[in-house]
Symmetry: C2
Subunit: 1004 residues, 2 copies
């Protein structure tokens, strides 16, 4: 890589400035948004001035294609712009005076048709056509002007098998048409480089569109499907007919795309094909990828194949990469400063031009500096202009493209073909680029920066050189933050996880012979034994424990009482310190713990990992929260008096945990109690004692004093009931079923002789959670959101979606895509990485699901996934129940499994009414792009957690404090700022500071 030192690079910079000035001059000032139709141009220019307007405008563009009627368009426009500062502007520009429009039917009609025409006009500016025929005409036209093309088929998100197949077909049709068109074009010098002639035409294909399984953990399935479809496509034309670029998409799928590409280019059948890959230089690891690419091409050339093509781009998924990384707690894979991408682009130029003999490089950019650098560097290295290519986007900067071509460079346009709906997200990305503060088109053309300044070398920030690190700060002096889930898209992470699983299953059985109960620091090793099994292989015993007895409950509570005095007086920071240390202990063993959950709870990899992450988050969050509460709450204090509110522990807490989040939920309840200064007796679920025991191990490892945390596996009817009844238990924290919860509440409310407190019960019970799909919802969001909410961990979450409520107007479309996506779910042993759905937890669950499924069948219709399921294990197939009568128990009772009931509502009000028509109020969801409808449900939908435009499970402590009301529970939200109050008694200190004759706080 070259470094930018002034002396050495002076001639290079001079050449950049010379060439750049020529480009600017030739392109004129009309490049970029200036090429848009007048009104659209005006709109863009306002968007640049006002970020709020820009956002609202893009929201409108985003939702526009799904709006079916004029009324819908009108109401969305009103909602997005009415009241906004620039609403008037937009109205003027789009010829839509919303007030005016609503006042008269006639003018409203005119207004709307103008708006529609206007937005469609903008779309047409960026999307060249809807059919291969139209597109080939565009290519021909460009060719006349000395410009080449590569065609991209826009598509909706591929969520079902038929969608993947349809996309492949459209690509084949396009290829055929382009082959035909190219045969009519004469060869010119544009079609040659020093390595020879190459195909006259080109397509760009998105791998993700060719499979519904194109995800990191189901990589093996997804890659196989994509390679298969690619082979078919490639075989449909000759190797010299088309250059085929594999577009690069989000970072998560990069390893998959590399795998697809490597497979294809090494396939002897395709040695004469012109195949290209895209590398995004906004990725921190892109230079490594480019080196790898050069090697791959070198290898292929040596094997007698054609040199590989590569397109270097800066990258178009910046927003979503950032959001995803922050949401999941991943390392951000991209540079965060635009200038670093610009700088890295030039390093990519250096690298590729230096390896020119093995490759055919192309460079996608509208940045005149980047293009000029390419030119100057090539000159310096004596690489002829024929041997590299500049690519630009259709509709973005036509005059710029012509100018660069006119200066003797090979230029190729990237030309999208497609319908309005799938095109809109493409369109929004283009509009964003045009209006971004940091974008070159805005700086270079819209804002008329000075040429010289625009041609200056990009100077990397310090972040460019920052070594990547995945260390999470699990420390009290750092603010709380969500721990990242495992980055399974990084191949070594998946591999390690596989090894952790392997390590357990290679042990002798029971894998975990546990020396529990654990009482007052003592391990109990005598008594009746009990086991937990692997629900995917019921014959496999995962762990073996001793069941606790009533006598042991008494002992454990005594131990907890004895430990209370010291523990409650342990400084808060120290108590919080134990939580942080336990969190770090679990963090160091996260893969091993998650692997245990895969075996004991039947959780797929991601779900198992998420449970461990949540357990760590709970430790981290509550530790921070208690430190905050420890500072006390300020109160009003008149002069001469100091008033403060503090909190003390309640005493001994009984924690009774469930099996579905076998580590996270017991951890949350336990560590909240502990950090608040209470001591704990923890009873785990009978199905998952080994996983819950991890928590005990963690706290033993970090030296928690004996008796502070006691652990009693055993049957709920004996151990749980006796614990709840015990006079010295001050708090009961329970997560589980409604019936057990109500029993606990009733039992705990009976005062027992010698009891000197009123028991506090925190109960998280069931849910019957609905997702409502509004008519304007984005189905690309809805379908994966619903599928994951309903079928993730086989629906065995109290937050799982068990009811889908759709509006009649979009019902058919929604239901068919949901069922199609359900059909792509991979059901099987959760030990396999690709498994979307494992078995249910036990036989009783399997029977319960069968019971409700039969009921649904008899009362309505059931669509069940067309899949094979393993013979062994408690599997049931995911299914969707339709046409149920309103009073069906399938619609009102908690089923706790992968059976999704669909209801149809006439309008949103009815949808909300249906959603609220159960005894529960836990989670609920809405997919909508109407601000007014979102506001409406915020006030009307009855649920403890309302999720908008996303899945309804997977609450993260601190972000989504979790818990419901009605029969879904009592107590405030876990992972929220009110939660610890439940383990604490507030007390106020009021100190009169007045002394005889003076008041220290009055200074006079």
């Amino acid at each position: 890589m070259s470094s930018v030192t002034k002396g050495a690079d002076a001639p290079l910079q001079r050449e950049i400035e010379r060439f750049g000035a020529q480009v600017f001059k030739a392109a004129g000032s009309k490049t970029g948004i200036k090429e848009l139709p007048l009104l659209a141009r005006q709109m863009m220019s306002f968007a640049m001035e006002d970020p709020v307007f820009r956002s609202q405008l893009f929201r409108l563009v985003d939702v526009f294609p799904t709006l079916r009627t004029d009324e819908e368009i009108l109401s969305h426009m009103k909602e997005y712009f009415e009241g906004a500062q620039d609403g008037g502007r937009f109205a003027k520009i789009a010829a839509v005076g919303t007030r005016y429009a609503t006042s008269s039917k006639l003018s409203r009609g005119i207004t709307l048709s103008l708006t529609r025409k206007n937005l469609e006009g903008v779309a047409q500016h960026f999307i060249a056509g809807t059919s291969p025929k139209e597109i080939s005409k565009v290519l021909t036209r460009y060719r006349v002007e000395g410009i080449l093309g590569t065609v991209d088929v826009l598509g909706e998100k591929t969520l079902t098998e038929p969608e993947a197949a349809a996309y492949a077909t459209r690509v084949e049709e396009l290829a055929a048409e382009l082959e035909k068109a190219a045969s009519g074009w004469e060869s010119t010098k544009l079609d040659f480089d020093t390595k020879g002639e190459f195909p006259k035409s080109s397509i760009s294909v998105k791998s993700s569109a060719l499979s519904a399984h194109y995800h990191p953990l189901s990589a093996s399935v997804g890659i196989r499907e994509v390679v298969n479809r690619f082979e078919t496509v490639l075989k449909s034309f000759g190797g010299d007919s088309l250059i085929v670029f594999l577009d690069m998409e989000d970072y998560e799928t990069k390893p998959l795309t590399w795998e697809v590409f490597s497979t294809l280019v090494r396939d002897p059948r395709f040695m004469d094909y012109h195949l290209g890959l895209v590398v995004q230089v906004y990725l921190r690891e892109s230079l490594i990828d480019l080196n790898r690419f050069v090697s791959l091409s070198q290898e292929r050339v040596k094997m007698g194949g054609t040199p590989l093509w590569v397109r270097v781009v800066k990258g178009a998924y910046f927003d979503s990469e950032l959001v995803k990384a922050e949401a999941e707690g991943y390392q951000t894979p991209t540079f965060v400063h635009k200038v670093d991408s610009d700088y890295n682009f030039e390093r990519a130029v250096d690298l590729l031009l230096g390896s020119i003999e093995y490759i055919r490089p192309t460079f996608g950019s509208h940045n005149v500096r980047s293009i000029s650098y390419l030119h100057a560097k090539a000159s310096e290295l004596n690489v002829p202009s024929s041997d590299y290519e500049v690519q630009m986007l259709y509709g973005m900067a036509d005059d710029l493209a012509k100018a660069v071509a006119g200066l003797g460079k090979r230029v190729r346009m990237y030309i999208p073909m497609g319908e309005l709906i799938p095109g809109m997200s493409y369109l929004v990305r283009r509009l964003l680029e045009n209006t971004a503060n940091e974008g070159f088109l805005r700086q270079g053309f819209a804002s008329r920066g000075s040429y010289k300044a625009l041609l200056k070398a990009p100077k990397p920030t310090s972040d460019y050189y920052r070594p990547s690190s995945s260390e999470h700060q699990l420390a009290l002096d750092q603010p709380y933050q969500h721990l990242g889930t495992l980055e399974f898209h990084r191949p070594h992470v998946s591999a390690e996880f596989g090894r952790a699983l392997q390590a357990i299953s290679s042990r002798s059985k029971p894998y975990f012979p546990l020396t529990v109960p654990y009482v007052g620091g003592r391990e109990i090793d005598r008594g009746a034994k009990e086991v937990s099994i692997n629900p995917a292989h019921p014959g496999d015993v995962v762990s073996e424990v001793i069941n606790a007895t009533s006598e042991l409950v008494d002992e454990a509570v005594s131990a907890a009482m004895a430990a209370l005095s010291d523990w409650s007086r342990t400084p808060i920071e120290r108590r919080a310190g134990y939580l942080m240390e336990a969190a770090r202990w679990m963090h160091d063993r996260r893969k091993e713990i998650a692997a245990l959950e895969v075996l004991e709870a039947g959780k797929p990899w991601k779900e198992a990992d998420a449970d461990v992450v949540e357990a760590i988050d709970f430790c981290n969050y509550y530790a921070h929260e208690m430190v905050r509460l420890g500072k006390g709450v300020g109160l009003l204090s008149p002069k001469g008096e100091h008033n403060d509110m503090f909190y003390r522990p309640k005493g001994v807490a009984a924690v009774i945990g469930p099996w579905n989040f076998p580590l996270a939920i017991p951890t949350g309840m336990t560590v909240a109690a502990l950090v608040a200064g209470n001591t704990v007796v923890l009873k785990p679920a009978e199905q998952t004692p080994a996983t819950a025991k991890v928590l005990v191990d963690a706290f033993r490892a970090v030296g928690l004093p004996d008796g502070v945390l006691n652990f009693l596996p055993g049957p709920g009817e004996e151990v749980g009931a006796h614990l709840v009844r015990h006079k010295d238990v001050a708090v009961v924290a329970f997560t589980g079923s409604r019936s057990v919860g109500l029993e606990i509440i009733e039992t705990a409310s009976k005062w027992q002789k010698g009891q000197v407190h009123i028991k506090k019960v925190i109960a998280e019970l069931g849910g019957k959670d609905a997702i409502i799909v509004d008519s304007d919802a984005d189905l690309d969001q809805v379908v994966p959101g619903v599928i994951y909410s309903a079928f993730g961990f086989s629906g065995q979450k109290c937050s799982a979606c068990s009811r889908l409520i759709v509006l009649r107007s979009s019902a058919e479309q929604v239901i068919s895509r949901v069922i199609g996506a359900m059909d792509t779910l991979l059901v099987g042993d959760p030990q396999r990485p690709e498994t979307d759905m494992g078995p249910l937890i036990d036989y009783a669950s399997q029977q319960r699901l069968k019971y409700y499924s039969d009921m649904a069948q008899s009362q309505g219709e059931v669509a069940t996934a067309k899949l094979a399921i393993p013979d062994e294990g408690y599997y049931v197939l995911p299914s969707v129940a339709l046409e149920l009568p309103k009073e069906s128990p399938v619609l009102t009772e908690e089923i706790f499994g992968p059976l999704l009931a669909v209801e149809i509502a006439e309008d949103l009000e009815e949808a909300v009414w249906l959603a609220n028509s159960t005894d529960y109020a836990l989670t609920a969801g809405l997919f909508s792009r109407s601000p007014q409808n979102i506001e409406f449900i915020k006030n009307e939908l009855l649920a403890g957690n309302i999720y908008i435009n996303r899945h309804i499970t997977g609450a993260v402590p601190g972000r989504h404090p979790f818990g419901g009301f009605k029969m879904s529970g009592i107590g405030s939200k876990s992972g929220g700022p009110d939660y610890l109050f439940q383990f604490l008694d507030p007390y106020v200190i009021s100190e009169n500071t007045v002394r005889q004759g003076f008041t220290p706080d009055i200074v006079n």
Copy 2:
């Protein structure tokens, strides 16, 4: 009054400057603290530099006389100074290196004796002597230097009858001694003015020291006692022997002192006596008082009496007036800027010199400007120097006094006589004055300001002209603040209150024939009748109501359910608005409502008023709180997601209130429920339906929609129980007895068919509250604090002190003063203003108290107040139980009446252990001046409300969120920031804002 215009006043100002310069010159620079012994001077000068050091130093001075052993002195010094920035300084000055001192027994002894000597030296500088003999010597010495004197007898706070008598005796002894001394002095011109010769000597007497009842509401008793004692004192010497000044004390007792003075000066027996009053010009109303004084003197002169004396001072209770006003929510009676007092002093000079013919004015000041103004104004008005007098404080500015006397003015020193303990508060006030930023001595002498600047005319601030207003801002857009209690010390307030009482008792009986129950906006007028009676006159029926039935409970809950939908959707600001309006409605009728409580609950005036104030405060506080919560709680939100937590109402709330705070407590629970969006069914206590009904009246008056608040008087066993059991009741808020509370908790926890929520119970139950008295406590604070806490409203508060825990070392002294103070309590009909203790609420209470009193008698000893009580009414006498066995039920069970049990502990640890040895944890108190002991009990004392150095009842919303734990209740504190949570269900909205290809909140 003259105004300060430059032109007209130029000669005056010139004379001020001329005379002032002479004073400064003659006084030299040694005036003020420069007259102190070296070490003390140094100490003072550090105090001026460092306010923290100053505070701690004064705290030490304050506590010093009560410290019995060297160990105690040492530990206090360490606690006050160790770690403080200036600890080292203090150590050096007082020759106390605390670290050094603790390291060696010998040096510690030296250190301590030096410290003691040093502090005593400072005290002796300001206090002239301990016996009349010593004092008369001081006076003789001054007389030689041409300076007169008036002697003040320092005393502890008079809390018992013997203390008042002893003080009178000491004054008499002093008078006799002074009379004797004066007879040995030759008359000089100092003893004459143009009106003739006057007594050679003088005393200054504090009226409050002559009675334990010298308080506004017991004014009639207190004034009678003081006048009687004064008469005896006056009659002990001849009218021409002594000038007697009545000192003015705190603002509250000013009307009493005026009354005493007016009575004495109009008494034909004392027409030839020289009597004087003090007027504090820091009081806003002081010029009015001075006019009144002039009229009084004029009247007396016309009747042939001697002209009256007056001493104008600026005022020495600034801190405590400010603190009291803020604590009680009174108007501040003083100016708040020193300059306004200075300005007002000159207006007083103008007024008095203008009326010189009828009066003998004296002026207390060390301010050279003030003194020079007096001189110049007198010159201008041709008032000879013999006709007015300048007074100064002994030890403050001797050189200044001599200088002024040397310039031909009559100067009189104010000379305190007394022991160290009562002297310390006097001492602290003097030290404060010497070190105050705004004080003249500091500015004029210590800091060496320029003469000219110091002699400038004081320029009043705008506050000087502010019209006084008692309007409380009961408005949502103002921050919440405690409503002031009635200023009974203002005579018209007491008079109005008396009239309000009169108005009720002149009605025919029942005073309040109520048309309740009130259900769904409908008044129920048929059914079984029930009455409430006046516990002071059980034959008087206060109100008559219809008892509700189970059927009516069902109707009321249905009405509340029906009203819920609209009410819960009413915007929060509007709901809060109803509360504010209801608060204003009650505020407008506060005296009438409180008068009703006097009759129905037997509350003394102040207690009744406080209950109304608290009700209004609850409306105001919860309204503000809900507006705050309505804004939602911010949560962590990663990019692309907005997370917020909001709160919704739970549904129908059942509120079951007690009789002891018959308006405030039902109001608190009800309005919290209402403002949170719940609808309410309120069941009042059977004893006080009319008072609780006021709340309903208030909300009806402000238009609360029908059904939102329903009111069901009736027996708890039927109405309360049925309400708690009702399936549609979501919240039960109860305040009352432990047994009923536990029953409610158990009943509410049983799920009822059709119930779609888990009931929330908020229960405020009993207490067995202790006050601990540390060995260094200030008994002047302890005794009134304990008496009020134990016997206020006859101990019928759950927060009342029922156990007094004293350390053996100070036990005798504490117990005897407490019993002595108990003996001064006025027990009688609460309709009389002076009543401290009225009857108990009912016959059952009277019997219960008898039961426990008999038990105490048989198990230990009981001291009962030596008082007569009315024959009629449920009265019991206040009493103190001693020597009880540890396990006595008198020490552990809630008695709810005026029986205070005393326990003796060996040390503070044992005291805390005793305090914690009950099932309850409601309130507790500590009196201590040891920071370390205060810190210790903050962590160890188990109580929901811990009060330090004050009474333990009378929590104010927002300042003292109230409520306990253990068997004292469950739920968070009323009047605190967590309270509303209990009527709300939290819910979280998580909105994914990412759109295809863009994220509106990422600006790029």
